[in-house]
């Protein structure tokens, strides 16, 4: 019989080695996989996306901008562009580097997969918002067109990604981008957020940390040179113009039910009543549908009925049924005080 102490030591050593090899995100295997990512396919696709992005914004791409975007050396960039040319995806002339129709449709295909995947992550998974874009950046190179189409069909063929960007169709059609940066709105004007630019990432993180989502309505309180104060979903928000420029809005005429001080359903104590005002835009996809199907729609009377251990979940009486909802979701349901007249 092996000495137990010795056996234990061997086992610990073995699990240690396994951990070093396969630790998620930091293990040797994961690092290796990450390193392998920068294959030529990835570079080609990323370059095409970059060119398309500039074309859309009517900015002229340069070798430098490509090199910067892909973080590769300028020599490599020249090689890459030559390769793209030989593949018939771009052409370069005195006007600079341009996408060919073939290159554009390739770019749109990658964008479609990218946005579909973001939408999938947002709607069907619980991946954190700040990780959607980065994960889609990886995934867009690894999904086949067929897989993407199956995914789209399953999700009900979404036409917008979670940032409010249109998803190109299978045939490569995409509507022209409407709207304007938030910085253009004047004091007292209303707008609806239609898009939040997800690049650069650092700015995007800041914006979502403020709780901004496409579909939300904003009202400019005070636009100054170095800061813009505005109201969104009843809360005041301040952004520097640099940040606000990454929020795209479409101006709207009238104010759609934005009133101040909505409480969330989770603030309701056992036995208290309230009326639902709406569900936050952060609650999306099947989760949102399920809640609405259960009767969580504006105007519904809810009563907090049971609290489980730790006050999470809480069971509410909604249209006659007792329905347990986790705090995280109850946070996203806005309520207002129940008043007798309202019901009749």
């Amino acid at each position: 019989m092996i000495d137990p102490l010795f056996a234990l030591l061997i086992a610990f050593a073995f699990s240690g080695i396994l951990a070093v090899l396969f630790w998620p995100a930091k293990g040797i295997y994961a690092t290796y996989k990450k390193a392998k990512r920068n294959t030529s396919r990835v570079l080609i696709e990323d370059a095409l996306k970059h060119l398309y992005d500039y074309e859309e914004r009517t900015v002229k791409p340069t070798l430098r901008s490509i090199a910067g975007h892909l973080s590769v050396s300028s020599d490599d960039t020249i090689q890459l562009v030559e390769k793209l040319q030989s593949m018939g995806l771009v052409e370069s002339n005195e006007d600079g580097i341009q996408l060919t129709p073939k290159g554009r449709s390739y770019a749109l295909r990658i964008i479609r997969i990218h946005r579909l995947w973001e939408r999938y992550l947002a709607d069907e998974t619980s991946v954190k918002e700040s990780e959607w874009h980065l994960e889609a950046e990886e995934k867009e190179h690894n999904i086949s067109t067929e897989e993407a189409e199956t995914l789209a069909a399953q999700m009900g063929n979404p036409v917008f990604d979670p940032h409010g960007d249109p998803i190109p169709t299978k045939e490569g059609e995409i509507p022209k981008r409407k709207g304007m940066p938030l910085t253009i709105l004047k004091n007292g004007e209303f707008g609806r957020i239609i898009h939040i630019e997800d690049e650069p990432h650092a700015i995007y993180i800041q914006l979502i940390a403020q709780g901004l989502y496409p579909g939300m309505q904003v009202k400019i309180i005070n636009a100054e040179k170095n800061r813009i104060r505005f109201e969104v979903n009843g809360e005041e928000c301040v952004l520097a113009p640099l940040f606000a420029a990454n929020v795209n809005v479409t101006p709207i005429q009238k104010q759609d039910e934005i009133t101040s001080d909505f409480k969330s359903l989770s603030s309701l104590r056992k036995g208290e009543k309230a009326v639902v005002v709406g569900i936050s835009k952060a609650c999306r996809g099947p989760q949102r549908r399920r809640l609405m199907d259960l009767g969580v729609v504006p105007g519904t009377l809810v009563i907090a009925e049971l609290e489980s251990i730790g006050r999470d979940p809480v069971a509410y009486n909604i249209k006659g049924a007792t329905i347990a909802i986790r705090k995280k979701n109850a946070d996203q349901i806005y309520i207002k005080e129940f008043s007798q007249e309202k019901l009749n």
Partner: protein
């Protein structure tokens, strides 16, 4: 006329004509779909009609597959399909898809929606959605005893008038109301009773124009489609099943069937 009606709805007269066929349903004349919210006693109604003993657990989502059974009533043989209990037919979850697809593509001769009388409003959500899809539906207003116990009074005749379909109060556990339900099923499938289902007219805000626009286009493409507006709404929601059905022309199958049905009634 009235006397005859009384005789026909008399329980003694009718249960005599009910032959429960269990899972034996080789030949059948009509197909009946059974839909409803979870926990409304749908399985109890199913067992009551077919004589089967499907398990009736008390937790939402218990019936995850669809069950089938048969019964014979007044010489007609019926196949009964118990659809999964759902709150809605609009989401993309598997059970809702099964239920939705059957009502739309399975083309039952009548859809019986089992409704919990104690929570009418919540259940009407599903009823209205069913009525958007199909013309022939019956409400089985179940748990009427429980509603009485809670002193909830339901004017089933007003409800039937508003919705344009038969509403039959039942206590499925005790078998009360089942004969009337059978009679009503017979009336609807044979065209004795013609449903004039309530359809939701308006939709809110900026939607109306888009919906009308598309509904017109659907109607042009598939003349005679009874639920063009619903199909348009589904298209606006990007429902792949509907897109495929339009592509393949399967949608027009619904048209044909309905017109045949109308012909029979006219004769």
């Amino acid at each position: 006329m009235i006397d005859q009606n009384k005789c026909e709805t008399c329980p003694v007269h009718n249960t005599g004509n009910l032959k429960r066929l269990g899972i034996n349903m080789d030949k059948f004349d009509f197909v009946v779909a059974l839909s409803g919210n979870p926990n409304t006693g749908k399985s109890t109604v199913f067992n009551n009609l077919t004589g089967l003993k499907q398990h009736t657990g008390n937790w939402p989502g218990k019936t995850v597959t669809r069950a089938e059974g048969g019964f014979e009533f007044n010489k007609n043989r019926y196949k009964l399909i118990d659809l999964p209990g759902t709150y809605s037919l609009l989401s993309t979850s598997t059970d809702e898809e099964i239920a939705r697809d059957f009502i739309l593509f399975g083309q039952p001769d009548v859809t019986v929606v089992v409704v919990d009388a104690t929570r009418l409003e919540r259940n009407l959500n599903l009823v209205l959605q069913v009525l958007e899809i199909t013309d022939r539906a019956i409400i089985c207003l179940n748990l009427i005893d429980e509603a009485k116990r809670r002193e909830i009074e339901i004017d089933d005749r007003a409800l039937a008038r508003d919705l344009g379909i038969p509403v039959i109060p039942t206590q499925a556990r005790q078998g009360i109301g089942i004969p009337e339900l059978l009679k009503s099923i017979e009336d609807v499938v044979t065209g004795k009773f013609i449903c004039k289902p309530y359809r939701i007219a308006g939709s809110s805000k900026g939607l109306t124009k888009a919906v009308e626009n598309l509904t017109e286009k659907v109607k042009n493409q598939f003349p005679g489609l009874p639920n063009a507006r619903w199909v348009a709404l589904r298209l606006l929601e990007g429902d792949q099943k509907i897109i495929d059905a339009i592509r393949s022309g399967e949608i027009s199958g619904i048209v044909k069937r309905n017109s045949v049905e109308e012909n029979i009634v006219a004769v």
